[in-house]
């Protein structure tokens, strides 16, 4: 049985550009050793955004996936890139978040004028571009081994960002992150080896056609899903995430929490819906959902009990990731003709997108608040409202999305998940969604309450924050809110390119 061939579509070359452009920027910053590393990044960021938008427009116009076969070598020998509705959505999301982060990071990672090249700007901008390349590759690649390389690229870009300030705690966090991510990688690779041994291909479409329900496939998928969960930091595998995301500079935390942990989840999604023998396995889906429920409840309580703002947001990330894993049983039990026409699928994807926007905004806002106040102890946030009102407002708006209150993307996402849970009579999942919302509201309001309190008498502002940085953060939060006005039904766009996979 030979898998159907990929046909390169017009405009497919843009997919290559999406992957390679950040690499070019990264190499340029590295090689030129310019006085101001960020300038190159500022050149690459908007172009990358345009490329992502162009691909999205192409997909929307043609109503079909954009495909490119690298070097003209058909999979399984070669590797194909393919942008369907889902991957394009995530690419645009990535570009938007990175551009916003780039703007806000200008204040923290500009090369000082008296130096030829400084460490942290050079490292920050090259790694951010490296991350971008990795993420785009994750979203586009159709080959499990190529995805492995992309995941490694992601890890190598993310880990040094964690310990950019060189303090002992962050070094420790970075090392834990690296080692745990490496176990995840090896488990994933082991699964890939087994799949290759069983099918002689690692191409997603090929595997979809060939997948059998045998021991090798089960073990391979088990290893891969577990490995990816370790990288996605789902409870109880979250040991590395809170210190790493809290220790990184705010701009980096925003990217790590908003985007980086979503990449392994995206691959789980691909494995589950595109590779695993269909119909999918009910028990494994339930297990994923239970881990999600545990993640939501446990880590929300942990977030509620943190003394530090950034640690609180980091725990909230683990909790919000839990919602993503609820979708597996919901999609399975749905009576929609295909996975992507079910409410659960749409809700899950929307949760991914709105959490990314909200969390990026929240971390950036937390960074600005910490810059202005000189600390991020939640108990002492009094007066933040008077110094950085826009950041506090952004924090609140982003909080809406995390709590699942209208109007916000998070609300629509959770509503859809709740609807799916009700329709499929998954009452535990429904209860977890609701309880998680209440807990999220508690930790968000706890911060807002302090931040809006009148400042103490000896209150001093440590740094003044330029308006454009605050407005950028607010912009991201508003994006998350605006997502709340999408219709409450499965979107056709997310299904583009999935109907009739090759």
């Amino acid at each position: 049985m030979t898998p159907a061939a990929y046909t390169a579509t017009e405009g497919g070359a843009l997919l290559v550009v999406a992957i390679v452009l950040p690499v070019i920027g990264m190499l340029a910053i590295f090689a030129l050793g310019l006085r101001r590393a960020e300038r190159i990044a500022y050149l690459v960021l908007p172009v990358g955004l345009l490329v992502a938008l162009a691909i999205a427009a192409d997909v929307a116009r043609s109503g079909a996936a954009v495909t490119y076969v690298l070097g003209g070598w058909q999979p399984p020998l070669g590797i194909a890139l393919r942008a369907d509705g889902l991957s394009v959505t995530l690419m645009v999301l990535t570009a938007v978040v990175l551009c916003a982060v780039g703007l806000v990071a200008r204040g923290s990672f500009s090369t000082p004028p008296d130096k030829a090249e400084a460490r942290s700007p050079m490292v920050f901008w090259t790694l951010i571009l490296g991350l971008w390349c990795a993420l785009n590759t994750v979203f586009l690649s159709q080959d499990l081994f190529n995805l492995f390389v992309a995941l490694e690229l992601l890890t190598f870009s993310a880990v040094p960002l964690v310990c950019l300030d060189g303090r002992r705690e962050t070094l420790q966090a970075a090392l834990r992150y690296l080692l745990f991510a490496l176990i995840g990688s090896v488990l994933y690779l082991m699964g890939a080896a087994l799949l290759y041994g069983a099918y002689g291909t690692l191409d997603l479409a090929g595997l979809r056609l060939l997948a059998r329900n045998d021991l090798a496939t089960s073990v391979a998928l088990g290893l891969m899903i577990a490995g990816l969960m370790a990288k996605a930091a789902l409870f109880p595998l979250h040991l590395w995430l809170p210190p790493a995301h809290a220790g990184a500079p705010a701009a980096a935390s925003a990217v790590l929490s908003a985007l980086v942990v979503k990449a392994p989840f995206f691959i789980i999604l691909r494995l589950w819906f595109d590779v695993a023998p269909q119909p999918a396995n009910a028990m494994a889906a339930q297990m994923l959902a239970w881990l999600g429920i545990a993640s939501i409840l446990f880590c929300s309580v942990m977030a509620l009990r943190q003394a530090r703002l950034k640690l609180m947001i980091a725990y909230s990330t683990v909790a919000q990731l839990g919602y993503l894993f609820l979708m597996f049983p919901l999609v399975m039990a749905s009576d929609a003709p295909t996975a992507w026409e079910s409410v659960g699928w749409t809700g899950g994807v929307l949760q991914l997108v709105s959490h990314a926007l909200a969390k990026a905004s929240m971390f950036l806002a937390a960074g600005l608040i910490a810059e202005a106040l000189g600390h991020d102890r939640i108990e002492n946030l009094d007066g933040a409202m008077s110094v950085v009102p826009i950041s506090v407002a952004a924090f609140g708006l982003a909080g809406l999305s995390l709590m699942g209150l209208p109007p916000s993307g998070g609300f629509v996402a959770k509503l859809m998940l709740l609807t799916a849970a009700t329709e499929t009579a998954n009452w535990w999942i429904a209860a977890a969604i609701l309880l998680g919302g209440i807990l999220a509201a508690s930790y968000v309001f706890r911060v807002l309450n302090r931040a809006m309190a009148a400042p103490a008498s000896d209150f001093a502002c440590k740094a003044s924050i330029p308006l454009y940085r605050e407005l950028t953060v607010l912009g991201l939060a508003i994006c998350a809110v605006v997502l709340g006005f999408v219709p409450l039904q499965p979107f056709a766009f997310l299904g583009i390119g999935r109907v009739g996979l090759p």
Partner: protein
């Protein structure tokens, strides 16, 4: 003439004022604009009827519409918002944070008027949440230890209510295709659907929480008194009506449902008496009024329950009529407390008589508007025990109100006597007058009775004896005043707060678990277990 634009303006004007606050000049003056914000709502209630406007087409289908029930409550609410806004624009002037107060005010206003005019589910949830959550800003405004506690409890229960309602909504629409149905259509589908019972239960709990049904009332006696006077007036007068309109809109009132109706009625009557019993032990007049709201909303819930059990037509209108009366009276009473608090004994003899009239109107004193409200709703209870209990609850109200007047007198003695501000008095007098007159105007339109029937000897007798009993009880209570236990505000919440150490211990335990789970060997062992578990699950279960 097409007045439907007024519906849009009802929501758009206050929101536009919020947005305009971005400019510091407007922000500095926003307080004095507050009385104007509800004007479109008032006009809409007067002129607009029956139309519906779709703001966003399908699949969003955000729809506004105004029916009789909505118009009645919208008009009353707008009036009170306007008067309270006038009061606030004077009383809050120059206070620190008054701009912030105005923003919360406008947002709450938008939400609370919105619940009366939206026709689709999503919009309802949106404006309902807006009213609930923005009111937090009003409760928390004073930023004292007392208000912080109150706002914490308020928020926790408001969020719980949101969750219950959301879940109920999801069950309501789960059988319907398409994204966002109209409330009407969704409710019409409910009877006989497999999720009917849990959906009705969740909706009663969720909206009941907002209206203060026992035991979900605990936030009300904490939250209503701590806000500034005008905010207390709208919280106790208007915001609780969001729960009433929720029950009216979402319960299938046209279809007899004896079990649920009985349950709601019992819960309502229970609440009516509970509010009185705890209310008479309270010291501050604002807290007494808050408990009175609990009690009155119990009556409204009982009315709805009675209607639901028989499927009697017109239940919604009658309940709304009763609620409208309470809305205006309670608003006027709170504003009156403010005036007494500000002027002390200076005018008390002139204020106390209208206040007494208003107060006993709540108990259905003959010839007051309250008697009309009781008269109109009475037939719903039939002739049995329920009717008797409903009547008896009026006695309770009279008792509570007598207690309130006593506390008000004490407040006057304790306050310093400033000269009254004309605007404040005007605001109070406006609402008071409306509360006494408006029901007489509406009564012939919403009932089949002639006004003359309400002043028949029998009606007067039926209305009088509970008030008399209440007054006798009040005298008795005054006699034994010293031995009446002082139940703390929020009653059962105090017991719940005893559980705090337990919650803290749970939190610590979770933290400790987290530390263990995040140790390297533990986490990596768990990872291996998960890998094996997934492999096994994939292999052996299918």
């Amino acid at each position: 003439m097409d007045w439907s634009f007024l519906l849009v303006a009802t929501l758009a004007l206050p929101l536009a004022m919020v947005v305009a606050c971005v400019h510091h000049l407007f922000f500095a003056r926003v307080l004095s604009w507050l009385p104007l914000a509800p004007v479109p709502g008032l006009l809409a209630a007067l002129f607009e009827r029956g139309d519906s406007i779709v703001i966003a087409p399908a699949p969003l289908r955000l729809t506004l519409a105004l029916d009789d029930v909505g118009a009645m409550l919208l008009g009353g609410a707008s009036l009170l918002w306007g008067a309270a806004g006038l009061y606030a624009s004077v009383s809050m002037r120059g206070k620190p944070g008054s701009g912030r107060f105005a923003i919360w005010w406008l947002l709450t206003l938008t939400g609370s008027l919105g619940v009366f005019i939206v026709a689709d589910m999503t919009s309802f949830y949106l404006v309902f949440s807006l009213a609930s959550l923005a009111a937090y800003g009003l409760v928390a405004f004073e930023n004292t230890a007392r208000s912080r506690r109150a706002s914490r409890v308020y928020m926790a229960l408001a969020l719980l209510g949101e969750a219950l309602i959301l879940f109920g909504f999801v069950m309501l629409v789960s059988a319907m295709p398409g994204g966002n149905p109209l409330i009407r259509d969704a409710v019409a589908m409910l009877p006989g659907s497999p999720l009917e019972s849990p959906a009705v239960l969740l909706l009663i709990l969720g909206f009941g929480l907002k209206t203060g049904l026992v035991p979900l009332h605990v936030w009300m006696p904490l939250a209503h008194p701590v806000a500034p006077i005008p905010a207390s007036a709208v919280l106790s007068g208007i915001i609780v009506k969001a729960g009433v309109i929720g029950l009216i809109r979402f319960l299938p009132l046209e279809v007899p449902s004896p079990d649920w109706g009985m349950a709601l009625m019992v819960l309502g009557l229970l609440t009516a008496f509970y509010g009185v019993i705890v209310g008479v032990t309270q010291q501050h007049p604002k807290t007494v009024l808050a408990y009175s709201t609990v009690s009155q909303m119990g009556v409204v819930a009982a009315v709805l329950g009675a209607g639901l059990s028989t499927g009697a037509p017109g239940t919604a209108t009658l309940a709304a009529f009763y609620a409208l009366h309470h809305l205006l009276v309670k608003g006027a009473l709170f504003l009156g407390v403010g005036i007494v608090g500000a002027t002390g004994t200076r005018y008390v003899s002139r204020v106390i008589i209208p206040m007494a009239l208003l107060a006993f109107s709540l108990a259905g004193l003959p010839l007051t508007s309250g008697a009309l409200a009781k008269f109109a709703t009475k037939p719903l209870f039939g002739d049995g025990l329920a009717a008797f209990m409903a009547t008896l609850s009026a006695a309770g109200s009279a008792l509570l109100m007598a207690h309130f007047l006593g506390r008000l007198r004490t407040l006057a003695d304790e306050s310093t006597g400033d000269v009254a501000n004309a605007s404040l008095v005007f605001a109070w007098a406006l609402v008071a007058a409306a509360s006494l007159i408006l029901p007489w105007v509406l009564f012939p339109e919403i009932t089949t009775y002639a006004l003359s029937e309400t002043v028949s000897m029998k009606a007067l007798w039926v209305a009088s004896w509970p008030v008399a009993i209440g007054l006798l009880l009040a005298l008795f209570l005054k006699r034994i005043d010293a031995s009446v236990p002082r139940i703390p505000e929020g009653d059962v919440i105090v017991l719940l707060e005893r559980l705090q150490p337990l919650a803290a211990r749970c939190g610590t335990a979770i933290e400790r678990t987290d530390l263990v789970l995040r140790r390297w060997p533990v986490a990596s062992i768990v990872l291996l277990m998960l890998a094996i578990a997934f492999g096994t699950a994939l292999q052996f279960s299918r």
